[in-house]
């Protein structure tokens, strides 16, 4: 379990990370989401011991990353945003050095390097100089470095940035595979990527944690404000008249739409979405006007992201917190 408590990082008068707290359980894939400059990389660098914090604590399975750095770092594999590679070496030489630095016994190093090379599908490139490898393969070397010693926590900072679509798919598949054996924490500002891979999302904006939940729960929460699309066999006037009698409907835009069966309405609701749907259904049924379609409008992760991160830095608000995991 990774515990981050009241983590703050200041550079002079600039606060890059502002009092962030969260707990990451084992066995999940977590996504760090945030616009550029939000504080994702800084948070990850502090969590991995590359950077000191101005205040706060980070513990990895009970080991403090600042006080008990050596032990805590053994539990983490980290791929920084720019893979830190010695380009004059082959992946094999590079990985052998990292393995030794991680304290893997000398006799086990060749087997361990072979394992991560196979796992990241670097076999054909293991003997070439890193400077001659494509960006995708360099990224794999960086991930292989993080996997050495089988640390329980793998932290990947924007692992797909700068890759072509095919390479992105390959790296995503690799991350999914890693998620079966390790706790994976990856940062990205690509929403679809996080939605596709991660079981839980932490959204960071202006150095603060503004949300921490599953993508599904976040969508649900932001649907609570409530919008619904309705298609019915009725004229716009009839629809407006029927909806006027439903207390949960606070606003509606109705227009005639033959393709939708008569008319289409965009509703704004208050209160419980299911109660509103029931009341609308009963009102239309009583009037003998068939409802052909009634769909709650759900915010996708993109809308949630925009809504949560577009606030001014000064507008401090309580983070939306995890409920599902």
């Amino acid at each position: 379990m990774i515990t981050v408590e009241h983590l703050t990082k200041r550079y002079g008068s600039v606060t890059a990370v502002d009092d962030i707290s969260f707990t990451l359980e084992t066995g999940h894939i977590y996504g760090f989401l945030g616009p550029n400059g939000a504080g994702k990389s800084t948070t990850m660098n502090i969590m991995t011991g590359c950077l000191a914090a101005s205040a706060g604590e980070v513990t990895i399975d009970g080991h403090d990353i600042f006080e008990d750095a050596r032990q805590a770092k053994r539990l983490i594999g980290y791929l920084p945003e720019i893979p830190p590679l010695y380009t004059d070496e082959t992946p094999w030489e590079y990985l052998s050095f990292v393995a030794q630095a991680k304290g893997i016994p000398a006799k086990q190093i060749p087997d361990e390097v072979a394992r991560v090379v196979a796992e990241t599908r670097l076999d054909e490139m293991a003997g070439r100089l890193i400077r001659n490898l494509s960006k995708g393969y360099r990224q794999r070397v960086g991930i292989a470095q993080a996997l050495l010693g089988s640390p329980p926590y793998i932290i990947l900072d924007e692992p797909t940035v700068g890759l072509d679509p095919l390479q992105i798919i390959e790296i995503r598949d690799l991350i999914r595979q890693l998620g079966e054996k390790h706790t994976v924490i990856l940062s990205s500002h690509i929403l679809s990527e996080v939605q596709a891979i991660c079981e839980s999302v932490l959204i960071i904006a202006h150095g603060r944690l503004v949300a921490f939940d599953t993508p599904q729960n976040l969508e649900k929460m932001l649907t609570a404000a409530g919008r619904m699309t309705l298609c019915a066999e009725a004229t716009p006037d009839q629809v407006q008249g029927l909806l006027a009698g439903v207390r949960e409907v606070t606003g509606c835009e109705v227009q005639a739409d033959e393709a939708a069966g008569g008319c289409r309405a965009e509703l704004t609701l208050q209160g419980d979405a299911n109660a509103a749907a029931r009341a609308i259904f009963l009102a239309f049924a009583k009037a003998g006007r068939p409802i052909l379609q009634m769909t709650p409008v759900r915010a996708d992760l993109e809308n949630i992201f925009i809504e949560l991160t577009e606030d001014e830095p000064s507008g401090k608000k309580e983070p939306i917190h995890e409920s599902g995991i």
Partner: protein, 287 residues
Amino acid sequence: MKAVFKHEAGLYSHGLLAYVFGAFLLEFIGIGAMLYNINAAVANFEYALGTFCIGFVALVPILTMRVLAEEKKQKTDQLLSLLPLSSTDIILGKYFAMALVFVIPMLVACVYPLIFSLYGEVYLPTSYGALIAFVFLGLALIAIGMFISSLTESQGMAAGLCVVVMLFCCYSASLADYIASTAFNLVALVVIAALLALLVRRLTCSDAAGILVLVLCLAAVGVVWLVNPDSLATLLPDLMSRLSLFERFYTFVNGVFDVTAIVYYLSVAAFFLFLCVQSWEKKRYNG
């Protein structure tokens, strides 16, 4: 530390740098030996070392310029920071690898006095005494060069700064002779205090620490001025002569094995390695 040492030694063995450094080092010593021991038929190998120790001005920057600056530029310093290694492990591992690159050609140079002894009377104790001091002088200068490399991301900048510092180290005792007047001493001491304060400010990123060092240095100069104004005229020259690394080496060239000089070289090396560790740690705190 062992992992970093092995890795660095491996990088040196694959690259050209160590071989160029070794070749130039042996060339400098070889030219000295040729001029003194072969052409002039002088039996003292230490004279060759004494004359051509100025070669360190070019050699130390060659060896040290990339050692930490390149790590910063390539962002591989982040790898070292995320591995379960302490800053001391990293700095010492790198330093000992450079020391190895320096000592291997020196082992070759150790054969020279033996070769000369085949053709005439060579007093081996003074030759080997000077060789030992030469190695310790080199180790101290390499630590200084390494610290300079830790201050910048640019190899060129590190090399240029290192050449300037090596030249100063080499000629500080000679320069001291030109500093005669009290006024000049005072100005020079204030400039040195300011430079020291700037260095501390850069290492700690704290204005308060820099100002504190400046105030302490100026206060010390002020106290000397108040207590004994005459001594101010000789304070800087004395300091420069006493702190000169090269001046102490000439004692060995003159046939005296000065243990305090060896201790001094080791202290200088330890002090600058300590500063290297602080400089490395600074990046963790300031990103």
